[in-house]
Symmetry: C2
Subunit: 410 residues, 2 copies
């Protein structure tokens, strides 16, 4: 839509991504509302206008949509049928349901990306009717095998590395043991197992809940964050190098320490994927780099992404502001870096679950490090904030950011 003074963006979800998007909305002078579960959600605490309700409740999502010019998301758990229903009622939803499937359904995404010629690790849907399918997959490839929840997984949830036959048996006992062929009995940490729209995820004639994936020997993991307008205008941020710890993307380096050639290739791949997917707004594409500098697509998310927080301090335009500009179809801001380098480290809840705000005296030792706290109730291991160090020397920045984050953890 044309830039205007009453523009209003609605975001489903009110976590830290919505909180930082709210900060960006303030700079643009636009209205911003969230669909929140509770008054203690990070974006509600930051003062965003809130509709309270469940993201699976059509009425709640509809209420948000009615208040806004465009609906977007801070997570991919919204049932796809719900998004489609909004579109059928002519609400503007960005990304749209067709694109959103790519971030919501890993089997759909991998199947389509492979069809479109992108390199992805070998994969196979786990057939719950074939007890030894995991072992067979390993035989055809090798151990370990990575098992992923088809949807709902994030931050290490919904991903298992199965190393041998014994572990395969454990996995089957735990997750496939009481299963019917329809595959509705799985317990675990997945979200919305009672989602009435799960039928929308079916590819082929069976309800697969897990995907088996070849464990790639990786040299590095990188993420390309791009931002795309409805008409196709696309910008990519500098490649970000992500370091996972216990499945959580815990440290990131911007720009990634890769060759200019590889960076260029990764950005071109990201552009092509964004086109294929029809992404609108932020699109984060996680890629593996193997020992021969080959790129392989791991996952993608169609929303502001944890790997892009350093764009707040390090780029001319943050991922959050560019997401807003893109979903409004307004001109994008530059994604270029304005400082040579940045390192981000998450602040995770410590063993004593001390609130990082109680520890802020300790940032005195790190005056150049930018601190972002999310206002969340502290729980061991929970992401409570992040810190970003900007400057020149990557290793020095890493030490600064890491030490600062540790000071804020107890």
């Amino acid at each position: 839509m044309k830039a205007n003074k009453t523009a209003r963006v609605g975001m489903v979800g009110a976590g830290q991504l919505a909180r930082m998007t709210h900060q960006a909305a303030i700079d643009l002078g636009i209205g911003f509302a969230v669909l929140a579960r509770s008054p203690s959600d990070p974006a509600v605490l930051s003062g965003a206008e809130a509709v309270f309700g469940d993201y699976r409740d059509p009425d709640a999502v509809l209420e948000l949509a009615e208040r806004c010019d465009v609906v977007t998301f801070d997570h991919e758990l919204v049932p796809c049928g719900l998004i489609k229903a909004l579109e059928e009622k002519s609400f503007v939803v960005r990304p749209g349901s067709e694109s959103f499937m790519y971030s919501q359904d890993k089997l759909y995404a991998k199947t389509r990306l492979k069809e479109a010629g992108f390199a992805v690790p070998d994969f196979l849907p786990l057939d719950p009717g074939v007890p030894d399918s995991l072992v067979r997959f390993a035989a055809a490839h090798r151990w370990p095998v990575v098992v992923k929840s088809r949807s709902g997984g994030y931050d290490g949830r919904g991903v298992w590395v199965v190393r041998d036959e014994e572990e395969a048996k454990d996995f089957a006992d735990k997750f496939l043991g009481n299963k019917s062929a329809a595959g509705t009995g799985v317990s675990g940490s997945r979200e919305h197992k009672d989602d009435p729209d799960q039928d929308n995820f079916v590819v082929g004639n069976k309800q697969y809940e897990f995907i088996l994936e070849n464990h790639v020997e990786i040299e590095k993991e990188i993420a390309i964050l791009g931002v795309r307008r409805p008409g196709g205008e696309f910008l990519a941020y500098e490649p970000i190098e992500t370091v996972q710890r216990n499945g959580i993307c815990n440290e990131l380096f911007m720009p990634a320490d890769i060759s200019v050639k590889l960076a260029k290739s990764a950005k071109e791949t990201a552009f092509a994927i964004a086109e294929t997917v029809g992404a609108v707004g932020l699109v984060a594409i996680e890629m593996f780099v193997d020992g021969d500098s080959n790129l392989m697509i791991n996952e993608l998310a169609l929303r502001p992404h944890n790997s892009g927080h350093a764009t707040i301090e390090a780029a001319y335009t943050s991922q959050f502001q560019n997401h807003l500009r893109a979903v409004l179809d307004w001109p994008l801001g530059s994604a270029d870096m304005k400082v040579p380098a940045a390192v981000m480290v998450n602040i995770l809840g410590g063993r004593n679950a001390t609130d990082p705000r109680e520890l802020l005296e300790s940032v005195a030792g790190y005056p150049t490090v930018a601190v972002h706290l999310y206002g969340k109730e502290p729980v061991p291991g929970r992401k409570l904030g992040h810190v970003t160090a900007t400057g020149k020397e990557r290793e020095k920045l890493f030490l600064l950011a890491k030490s600062c984050a540790e000071e804020l953890t107890d």
Copy 2:
């Protein structure tokens, strides 16, 4: 107070300074409330918690104070007696009433700073009982004479440059004409002329409403922004060069194009003034630089300052976050620059009073320029936002920022 998770700062005023302070409060995860006049105030629109009322109403200010750990300000119009009353009730007010007088009463500030040995332009309170006092001052110095409102002036309001005897007569007719000796009948753009606490501003035995000031031939105007904790810890930002247009600080360059020696001297002066004043939080000191590189103190403000907006993009820690840290007595963030240079230009309401949000398509030509809109109702000449360009070459940045601001003005 010790850093803690329930910390809450209350700011009297809800304009753009409070709006940007609200954004900074979100990063620290602290509570932030404002005393606002209307739901359309910039900081209310950004989602800050609001108490609605008049800053001259003791009950309204008290209600804000009761909700917060510390009270601070986004303007200096609050009656000093009201601040003292809060202090007597043991509320924490930062800056305190003793310091606040310096930003509130120009006669008080100039008198005290001169006594303390700081260089200020020659000045004299305008005695309303002596009709030709303006002309006499000119005879003792020279034309033009600068006449300033003793309090309540900002952004060009409350400042008149009087060039000759005829203009002196015009000024007297307009502002002193119907005056009694007590000086209560002046009309014009000054604020709170009915302020019951104006007695607090009396120095000596007369109520002076205007100050006469020698018109200094200046080479440059600079501002030093410092931030000071209650215990005296002080940091200064790089000197900022301010360019006034029609009395409004419209363009600023960071760092100022002055010698290293002068910059050092200006920072030392700022430190000494902050000590003298007992400032807590942000302290902005406007200085004149004459042709011989002498510094002269113009004015000071004890709050985040319009000249410091570029610190958001250009410094490791913005003036807004450092103001919050200082008034909470928490460790300060670095005031150093993280980019070589920054130029800020205000977005003023244009002749057609078009809302800059309606013109945002045009920022497409300036993707590296950061835009901040305040959500204010557009009025010709009103500050509706600002833009900041960061990079290396000052002249190039100026062209970028200026052109972008012009695109957003109609």
